[in-house]
């Protein structure tokens, strides 16, 4: 590694960036310096303004104040296209590719190889195959993007950004939907890019990853820079304190495996052909069942099946000993099930509806349209959850899509908690959630369990699973392969369970 980045000139120097939204100051006089050959982590709580800063830098938003210098020259990208031309490649927070185009078309949109004025498709596909091979992907780039999993799509988005970036590569939570192996692959790429002398901006809520790959960090809080530091010189604790503006109490693990309550749910041979192999599962009150597995192992599909979001074609579900039909989510909600989905943008939020309406949506749906919840009650419910989950918003009336990603996630959690469910399914509950909130959510799960709720939680984060699960089911290839209980539940054991199957 190079020595302390005392480079005289930053590749990108943003000064005094401000951005106002109605009711919110998203960015307030923010400075950011990116040195060549350096990975720069941008840290902050949910809603701190990280994504907004990125969008202001790349011309996706117009900034209200501030200047940008690229290689010492004043620049003012007016659109993403401009910033791409300037050599800034970006992966925005939500996967932003086009589902109707092929992989290669996505990769080369806007800079297709041309031959005599026309797109040379064959060459484009061949190049795409080569590029993706560099990321360990052996896929047919002429297939539609949607033919591949979200993880692969994420890698394609990253590949596109890397190809675009002549000077700066910006990655906004690129690892949120990636597996360990894929994260390592991505880090390999980042190191290559860095070695080429580019500046890389890396946003994530995984502090381990930050410390593994980044050289320096800028920390934002409430739209203001609260510090810039060399990561060599600080500890995770320091960074967290900077982000939150307070100390985070050490996580005390008080797993209480005893006293499982009555059997709530008895799932027998539930499955759907071509989707998930039949599985059986018993869940008791006061129990948290963790679902572990690799990407695409079928955790989400298991959750969807139990919730009736995807109708099963065989098997049965017994609720407190009585068989129930789950043909659609409505049935499930009526039986006091709740599912907080993985893909909040598509399956979760109702973007233009106010945060308030989003929070009471499921409760209202269960009550039926005939019995509207009184306004005062709505207000009370919404406010209590906003307070309890610390959702950051300008007003309950703002459309939920304007919340930051992590806050949307919390609002969705509020939606389902408001229905006071007997059985709560959480699919990746902490995806995109900041460290502070992460701890709170783990505490919340523990709290709910203690109150006698039954939970099924799918997560890619082993530490997290270990923290709250009373039992862990390991999935592989859409099949339930093993179950860990009690003291067996450790990260190593889970990895082993997945890997053992791998070898088998």
């Amino acid at each position: 590694m190079k020595d302390t980045p005392t480079h005289p000139m930053p590749v990108l120097h943003a000064r005094g960036i401000s951005k106002f939204f109605p009711g919110t100051i998203a960015l307030d006089d923010v400075d950011l310096r990116l040195m060549p050959g350096e990975v720069h982590a941008l840290l902050g709580e949910n809603g701190a303004g990280k994504s907004t800063l990125i969008k202001c830098l790349t011309g996706a938003y117009r900034r209200d104040a501030g200047t940008l210098m690229l290689d010492g020259q004043d620049v003012a990208p007016g659109s993403t296209a401009d910033s791409q031309l300037l050599g800034i490649g970006t992966v925005y927070q939500e996967v932003n590719l086009l589902p109707n185009l092929t992989v290669a078309e996505n990769l080369y949109l806007g800079r297709q190889p041309m031959r005599r004025g026309f797109i040379a498709r064959r060459r484009m596909n061949a190049q795409a195959r080569d590029v993706l091979a560099g990321y360990g992907l052996d896929i047919d780039p002429a297939e539609p993007l949607t033919a591949y999993s979200v993880a692969i799509q994420q890698v394609v988005a990253i590949a596109r950004a890397v190809e675009m970036s002549g000077k700066v590569l910006i990655l906004d939570e690129p690892t949120a939907s990636l597996d360990r192996d894929e994260v390592q692959l991505l880090f390999g790429v980042i190191r290559q890019v860095k070695a080429r002398g580019l500046a890389v901006v890396f946003i994530t809520h995984f502090l381990d990853q930050v410390f593994e790959i980044s050289d320096r960090a800028t920390v934002l809080r409430n739209g203001r820079v609260v510090g810039e530091c060399l990561l060599r010189d600080v500890t995770q604790r320091d960074v967290v304190t900077m982000m939150l503006g307070r100390q985070l109490e050490a996580q005390v693990k008080t797993r209480d495996t005893g006293r499982p309550g009555k059997t709530l749910l008895d799932i027998k041979g539930l499955g759907k052909r071509g989707m998930i192999a039949p599985f059986s599962l018993t869940i008791r009150e006061g129990e948290v069942v963790g679902l572990a597995g690799l990407l695409g192992s079928g955790r989400t599909e298991t959750a969807n099946l139990i919730f009736g979001a995807v109708p099963a074609d065989h098997g049965q579900v017994l609720l407190r000993g009585r068989e129930i039909g789950l043909r659609n989510p409505r049935d499930a909600v009526a039986h006091r099930f709740a599912l907080c989905p993985e893909d909040r943008k598509i399956d979760g939020i109702v973007g233009d509806l106010s945060v308030r309406d989003n929070i009471i949506l499921a409760l209202q749906a269960r009550q039926g349209w005939m019995r509207p919840i009184p306004r005062a009650k709505i207000e009370e419910i919404a406010q209590s959850y906003v307070r309890a989950l610390d959702i950051r918003l300008a007003s309950l009336d703002m459309p939920i899509r304007l919340l930051s990603g992590g806050n949307q996630q919390k609002a969705l959690l509020a939606r389902w908690l408001a229905t006071n469910p007997d059985f709560l399914i959480l699919d990746e509950p902490t995806r995109g959630i900041d460290v502070g909130a992460h701890a709170e959510i783990i505490a919340l799960i523990e709290q709910l369990r203690a109150d006698g709720m039954a939970l099924l939680v799918a997560s890619s984060e082993l530490e997290e699973l270990v923290a709250y699960s009373t039992r862990v089911i390991v999935l592989r290839d859409r099949e339930q392969v093993s179950e860990l209980t009690g003291d067996q539940i450790t990260p190593d054991n889970i990895i082993n369970a997945i890997a053992t199957e791998d070898a088998a």
Binding site: L109, G110, L137, A147, S149, D502
Partner: protein, 334 residues
């Protein structure tokens, strides 16, 4: 190479062939050069306009103004050729500039004022037809020897006449197909249809593309108006009412999704032929009353949509299964 993405196109093609076979078995006279030549000639103006409509719909928009623009073009040409002595070719250039500019203006309104295409082009529809009325309410005949020359250009087979305008339509489709699939503009159109927000973040020049799309649609409506004026040797402000709906139907039957992003210009070609076939069949039958004609057209439209839906469902199911296989295969990356 045939891919799953080409399926809608193949389905439309198959539907056309099947429908033609059925018609021909009922009325053998339908299997004649005349009918084929008629399909091309009579649908030329609709086909050309539908190419533009395909681009618009691929981008997730809609253009309700084309019927009116066709009428306006005809009236404009007729009036200008009647009242001045300029050559029709100059008039063509003039009117194409005008309609392309009109389309571009609608595109700019849609983009810069963030107004829905449905409404902007609805206003455009009123405006263009209103302008045609203002030019002349009466039908104005076009008598110019250049028109006679153009109309005299045809290739006769067995009494069937393959006319210039039919050829022009085919040519338009070819250019349209190449534009859609082999140019950056075409790719940007698909990108817009896939999601404007994502396209924007990926650096697609949204303003330029949107304006371009509606300009193309306006320009092709103008070309279609020229063809219509050749077809009828007149300009008439009441002509081609509702042609936009025919064009939309042809595009949809051709397998393009109205939500944008998915479809083929070539599909529209078969969509046009299928619609023409329906009409020809009804005339050959000749027993349907005015109202049954409407009901049958609606019913056949429904049948085609349903057929397409069914085939698409089947295809998606297969694709989903295939996807699971690929996904499993690549889950273990590295």
């Amino acid at each position: 190479m045939i891919r799953s993405t080409h399926l809608p196109l193949l389905i439309t093609l198959a539907t056309f062939v099947l429908a033609y076979a059925l018609c021909a078995s009922a009325y053998p006279a339908m299997l004649s050069w005349r009918v084929i030549a008629n399909l091309l000639t009579d649908n030329a103006f609709l086909g050309i306009a539908a190419v533009g409509m395909t681009f618009v719909i691929l981008s997730g928009g809609i253009d309700l103004s084309i019927g009116s623009v066709i009428a306006f073009t005809g009236v404009f040409l007729a009036v200008i050729l009647r009242d001045t002595s300029i050559h029709p070719l100059v008039a063509f250039a003039l009117v194409l500039t005008l309609t392309t500019g009109f389309g571009a203006a609608m595109g700019a309104t849609i983009h810069y004022l963030e107004m829905p295409p449905f409404i902007v082009t609805l206003a455009g529809m009123f405006l263009a037809r209103g302008a045609a009325y203002v030019l002349s309410t009466e039908s104005v005949p076009i008598t110019h020897e250049f028109y006679d020359t153009l109309q005299g250009l045809y290739w006769k087979v067995d009494g069937a006449r393959f006319r210039l305008i039919g050829g022009l339509m085919v040519l338009t489709f070819l250019v349209g197909i190449i534009t859609a699939h082999r140019t950056r503009f075409g790719q940007n159109v698909y990108a817009l249809g896939g999601g404007e927000q994502a396209a924007k973040l990926m650096g697609v020049p949204v303003a330029r593309t949107t304006i371009g799309i509606y300009a193309v649609s306006g320009g092709l409506a103008g070309l279609s108006g020229i063809v219509f004026s050749l077809y009828t040797s007149a300009g008439y402000s009441l002509a081609t009412v509702g042609v936009e709906l025919d064009a939309i139907a042809a595009v949809v039957i051709g397998g393009t999704l109205l939500t944008g992003g998915y479809g083929f210009v070539a599909g529209t070609f078969f969509g046009i032929l299928i619609m023409g076939l329906i009409q020809t069949y009804i005339v050959f039958d000749g027993t349907l009353s005015s109202w049954w004609t409407k009901i049958v057209i609606g019913g056949l439209l429904f049948a085609f949509i349903l057929l397409q839906k069914g085939l698409t469902w089947a295809a998606q199911k297969r694709a989903a299964q295939a996807r699971r296989r690929t996904a499993t295969g690549s889950a273990a990356l590295s």
